[in-house]
Symmetry: C2
Subunit: 131 residues, 2 copies
């Protein structure tokens, strides 16, 4: 799926996420964008839906929050399974991809004839700096 030109709202939400140190909740994004005319949660959620669809943003299920994708050069193609480490101390999120895990999961789901649509891998813990 090629990424079309982003709309004004989508661009504002994308910028908010890109310039953030860590993940943001939809309501935090809303607060950041109130100055720029945002008034309602739906404005954020609608933009996020599209950004997720385009693969520019990831949703962190265990945080109910969103991060900009850190693979800017891979926006044109599906980059398979995405995994995250999430530091409970500093909030830092690191995105990574691992073909071995992807293949192993693929083998396991194939064994139960399960058709995978979306895979969530999130590792909560503490990063090197946060002991």
């Amino acid at each position: 799926m090629a990424t079309p030109q982003l709309t004004k709202n989508q661009t504002m939400v994308m910028d908010a996420l890109s310039h953030s140190e860590g993940p943001l909740s939809a309501y935090t994004i809303l607060d950041k964008l109130r100055d720029q005319g945002f008034r309602a949660p739906l404005q954020v959620y609608r933009a996020l839906d599209k950004l997720l669809e385009y693969g520019l943003v990831h949703r962190l299920e265990s945080l109910n929050a969103f991060v900009a994708c850190t693979c800017p050069h891979e926006h044109e193609h599906d980059h398979g399974v995405t995994a995250f480490t999430i530091c409970e101390g500093c909030g830092q999120v690191t995105e990574f991809h691992d073909i071995a895990i992807e293949q192993r999961l693929s083998a396991l789901t194939r064994a139960q004839s399960f058709k995978t649509e979306k895979t969530t891998i999130e590792i909560r813990g503490h990063c090197q700096s946060c002991v």
Copy 2:
């Protein structure tokens, strides 16, 4: 951590989950237990917190819901990383454990000196019966 005797509330919540076909949200559990005297969400959440701690129940982050653990014989010991397939069609959840994935994730986090506390793996898709 040995599993202590469950309290009355914990037992009721556990039973609700055990007898359910699929995952239940906290509020769905509350509704099921109103007849038996439950009145408030916290009664459910407090019981769930303990059941999670004892490893009798798992939380599905991508559904905001809970399932009874399907490894009844392993309650005494930590059974490492737990993964789930979740069918969008029938709602069926299958729990599984894979040492290869666990080891691979362990190697990857060790490489970034990340100390893992909890790992979430949830695969959304469709089961064999639901095409």
